[in-house]
């Protein structure tokens, strides 16, 4: 591994690179200042006290064998150190607040600021999760409304707000399907079918829930191959997990026949709702025949991604699966007050999938988003998302292959297969070069079934000028790949770091800073 000097922050971009940046793009994607770590800026005795000192005998009641022998080692910093450190780090990040983030399958739409304000209202933020129902009527009403609205949007009978993320919702859904079959004495269904275009979470979920995964191929038009699905289905099939629109951004036009085949085999149909942003108010999965689906509030309903989370993955189900939903749900009494279900109130519930009620702070944001839009606004969200994607697809198609001919929904796949054959420049290189032009790259090499693929999702909140600038950048890169492929292959040039040595990172994992031996100053008291 390359030796790294002690805490030498890079305070400026070299002139040559800056010049290249000016030539090559509208602006630097992110700030240039790499930072030393918290332990490198730590100095013994530095602190900004936050709580009063405890009395000297505070721990007198705790037997010695339970106490630390060595004082705790943590960095020692003043508040100004802390703030500058994290502000400078923040500037190394690309974000939706700062620029276009067309990450396919991830729905990086604008995160409304009123939602952040709402989640921080003390009435929501300071409420204890075990507070008696009478102290929590505001949040309980919010959750009650939200469950009903999600049921309306999904065309389902009810929902659980407990799952913490999409994959957690998938696990919840598949465990409910398992419980459903078992409740009917049908215990021999040990397989879950997924298409080859599915998210990796689908097969991983099936394994986690104790099922074998069977993968079926996609047809030439990008949809699930109906014959392949029929051949895979049988009395051993517990569920089929479909994403609709698919991960290629295409609506499953054979959806009626697919669902009929699933149910004819006695299996249930799970819908991965990652792509709901395309079809709000135009396709209700429950109405169409799906038995269960999850939402990703951090995709469809604008809750921020947070650098990887937290999200929320509510799961909606039809009448058939309603008894199996995790508890507690919110119930409404005859007098109009709300309460949480009591343990054991629904005997067939699969139980909890996490502690307490769910990622309520995230759900407050999703609720605010739904209130702002209402039913008509949500339909318009999908219209604008789909219009923007099709427009951008048309423009990107001027220089990249479009493997699928039909209209797309909220995202589309383009391929650099020919570009690579002609120039040696891969989609990875194109993606990295986009960074120099001030854009976050789209998702690349997913779904796995498209060679040199790029999945582009503009969302409804990007202006036409942004869409055009992004398309222009992709076209310039295709041109540049022919003129000067090396510049593309070695991109990015203007980011704070260049391409990383990922092989060494995996071979010799360095997952934490050097061990520190203990606080270097005695406690002030």
């Amino acid at each position: 591994m390359t030796a790294v000097g002690p805490a030498a922050p890079v305070t400026s971009v070299p002139d040559e690179v800056q010049q290249r940046g000016a030539d090559l793009g509208p602006r630097l994607a992110v700030g240039p200042n790499l930072q030393p770590t918290l332990d490198e800026i730590s100095r013994p005795g530095r602190a900004s006290p936050k709580v009063p000192h405890p009395p000297a005998d505070a721990l007198a009641g705790v037997p010695r064998q339970h106490l630390r022998r060595e004082p705790l080692a943590l960095p020692e910093l003043s508040e100004p150190d802390v703030i500058r450190h994290f502000v400078n780090l923040s500037q190394l990040n690309y974000s939706v607040d700062g620029g276009f983030y067309p990450l396919g399958s991830c729905t990086m739409k604008f995160n409304p600021k009123i939602n952040e304000w709402a989640a921080r209202l003390p009435g929501f933020a300071a409420l204890h999760p075990l507070a008696p129902d009478e102290l929590a009527q505001g949040t309980l009403e919010l959750l009650w409304d939200l469950e009903r609205w999600l049921a309306e949007i999904s065309g389902m009978a009810g929902a659980s707000l407990q799952p913490a993320a999409g994959a957690h919702g998938e696990l919840t859904g598949i465990l409910m399907i398992r419980a459903y079959h078992h409740a009917r004495g049908d215990t021999e269904r040990r397989e879950v079918i997924v298409p080859d275009s599915s998210h990796g979470t689908n097969p991983a979920t099936a394994s986690m829930a104790g099922f074998r995964t069977v993968t079926v191929r996609s047809a030439a038009d990008g949809g699930v191959d109906l014959d392949a699905l029929r051949a895979a289905l049988g009395p051993q099939t517990a569920a089929v997990m479909l994403t609709n629109p698919s991960t290629l951004g295409l609506f499953e036009t054979r959806i009626e026949a697919l669902l009929e085949a699933v149910h004819a085999a006695g299996a249930l149909a799970y819908m991965d709702g990652a792509n709901m942003n395309a079809v709000l108010g135009r396709f209700r999965p429950g109405q169409a025949g799906f038995d269960v689906m999850h939402f990703n509030t951090h995709k469809t309903f604008s809750t921020p991604h947070g650098g990887g989370g937290p999200g929320a993955g509510p799961v909606a189900v039809n009448e058939r699966l309603l008894p199996f939903l995790p508890g507690p749900r919110v119930a409404r009494e005859e007098d109009g007050t709300f309460r949480l279900e009591r343990p054991g109130e629904r005997a067939q519930s699969i139980g909890r999938v996490r502690s307490y009620q769910g990622s309520v702070g995230v759900l407050v944001r999703a609720y605010a988003y739904l209130l702002a839009h209402g039913g008509s606004g949500l339909a318009e969200v999908s219209e604008d998302a789909v219009l923007a994607a099709n427009y951008l697809r048309r423009r990107v198609g001027e220089a990249y292959e479009l493997p699928y001919e039909q209209v797309c929904k909220h995202e589309f796949v383009a391929s650099a297969r020919s570009l690579k054959a002609q120039t040696g420049v891969r989609m990875l290189d194109v993606a990295k070069r986009l960074i120099d032009k001030g854009f976050h790259p789209p998702t690349i090499y997913f779904p796995l079934i498209v060679d040199e693929g790029m999945l582009v999702e503009p969302t409804e909140t990007e202006a036409l000028e942004t869409l055009d600038a992004f398309a222009d950048a992709l076209l310039e890169i295709a041109d540049e790949a022919r003129r000067d492929p090396e510049t593309v292959r070695s991109a990015p040039h203007t980011a704070p770091v260049r391409r990383l040595d990922e092989a060494t990172a995996a071979r010799q994992p360095d997952l934490r800073w050097r061990p520190m031996t203990g606080a270097q100053t005695p406690c002030p008291d």
Binding site: P49, N93, T253, P304, R352, L371, N390, E462, E502
Partner: protein, 449 residues
């Protein structure tokens, strides 16, 4: 529409470029039989109406009571620096750092989070985060099954009820069992039972899970339990509360192979249950069994220090059905909150938070004893304990009428345990004041009279 930048002219230009008259043409691929015709939801609201509606709802929650309620979610002072950092759009509106060149901020903060939790626990490998303490414990239980190729996990019944319930739900999917270990009269895990269960050679245990402090606030004989687990070839996982680790022995010291816990006390608001932060740390030789993201330090092609997600062959997007877990979205922003919290408090600040909570709890114990209420268990505690209150539910309700949230009646979590029928679990933190304790003492005088 609320956040759309498109003017009618913009939409017209896009439609024109596509050669269509109406956006409806873009939805022709939805078969008529499954096409929906709009949604029956309330009408849109302007921002002012929205703010008023949300303020109204928030105002119907009550968060102004004097509270002694903990039970796994704790009220702490959150330094203002935490929200100042969390409010930066560069952090909270970024995605998972799949493009490391423009995600060094998030990646370095995750590396720092891993390092800080490693210092707290003494264990070298720390996952970038899990959904919450319950999900982290379920993942740890599954991890012991994978690592030992055994299928039976033992968990103390004195671990948070929701954690055990969650793990049971996760375990429903496989040929594995999760069995509860009883507690002894002093409130800690019964080591004789543990020894007996571990001696069952026909059903060898994969892992043993015990809380420190446990769900009754008590300090467990962790070193002895770890020794028993290891002697039987099982892994030992500690379910910890992170603030307590400023003063209590770190899990590595008493032989834990894995430590999990709820990270909410590290600068994350109560929020009626989430988003919280699942902590999971393990010995370095277990690294390939660790579920969830890991960030490593490496260098770029110029030799400049940089951070990247690593050991990705454990993850669902690479390994699909062979992945260590299906987790994708995690709790990155909550992990950032914990990182800023620990950086702001430092070793002495965190020690003071833990020690102040312990001091207040002793004052609380003295006050309750003065009102005739004694502790139920004899084992030592840190800042939470159970007291015997005749007719606990009724007393709890009467204190609520006096704006005092007097903890958790434990019969709600242990309905079949006669020894806990009249148990009230109370806690103190640095937020608890002498005046709070005096209020409780006064109110108890009226209620118990």
């Amino acid at each position: 529409m609320a956040y759309s930048p498109h003017t009618p002219a913009d939409r017209g230009r896009m439609l024109e470029a596509l050669g269509i008259d109406s956006v409806e043409a873009l939805f022709d691929d939805i078969p008529p039989a499954v096409r929906a015709r709009g949604l029956d939801l309330p009408p849109p609201m302007a921002e002012l109406e929205l703010a008023q509606r949300l303020e109204g709802l928030a105002a119907r929650n009550r968060v102004d009571l004097v509270s002694f309620l903990g039970a796994g979610a704790y009220r702490h002072h959150i330094p203002a620096a935490v929200d100042a950092v969390l409010s930066r759009g560069e952090f909270y509106t970024a995605y998972t750092p799949y493009q490391p060149e423009i995600s060094q901020g998030t990646l370095q903060t995750i590396y720092e989070f891993q390092s800080l939790i490693a210092q707290l626990t003494g264990l070298d490998v720390v996952s970038a985060s899990h959904y919450d303490g319950a999900a982290a414990m379920a993942e740890a239980a599954l991890m012991t099954v994978r690592a030992t190729r055994r299928s039976r996990v033992l968990v103390s019944r004195a671990v948070h009820r929701h954690f055990i319930d969650t793990a049971q739900t996760y375990f429903a999917g496989g040929d594995m069992t999760l069995e509860e270990l009883p507690t002894a009269a002093d409130g800690t895990t019964d080591l004789e039972s543990l020894e007996r269960e571990l001696a069952d050679e026909a059903r060898p245990a994969a892992g043993v899970l015990i809380g420190q402090p446990n769900a009754f606030g008590l300090l467990e004989p962790m070193a002895e339990a770890a020794g028993l687990a290891h002697a039987a070839g099982a892994l030992f996982a500690a379910v910890v509360e992170p603030v307590s680790l400023a003063v209590l022995a770190p899990p590595a010291e008493y032989g834990a192979d894995i430590a999990v816990g709820e990270g909410q006390p590290l600068g994350i608001g109560l929020q009626y249950g989430g988003p919280y932060l699942g902590l999971l740390a393990a010995r370095s030789d277990l690294v390939r069994q660790v579920p969830g993201r890991l960030v490593g330090r490496t260098s770029d092609v110029d030799g400049k220090r940089a951070y990247v997600m690593t050991l990705r062959a454990r993850e669902q997007d690479i390994r699909r059905d062979k992945a260590a877990s299906n987790i994708c979205t995690n709790q990155a922003l909550c992990a950032l909150a914990a990182t800023v919290y620990l950086a702001s408090l430092g070793p002495h600040g965190l020690h003071d938070v833990a020690a102040l909570g312990a001091a207040r709890a002793r004052e609380l114990e003295t006050a309750l004893a003065g009102a005739g209420l004694a502790r139920i268990h004899s084992a030592p505690y840190l800042n939470e304990f159970a007291v015997l209150v005749p007719d606990a539910e009724a007393v709890h309700a009467r204190l609520l009428e006096r704006d005092i949230l007097a903890g958790l009646p434990l019969a709600r979590w242990y309905p079949d345990d006669a020894t806990l029928r009249d148990a009230l679990l109370v806690c103190a933190t640095e937020m608890t004041t002498a005046a709070d304790i005096e209020r409780l003492r006064g109110a108890l005088g009226e209620v118990l009279a």
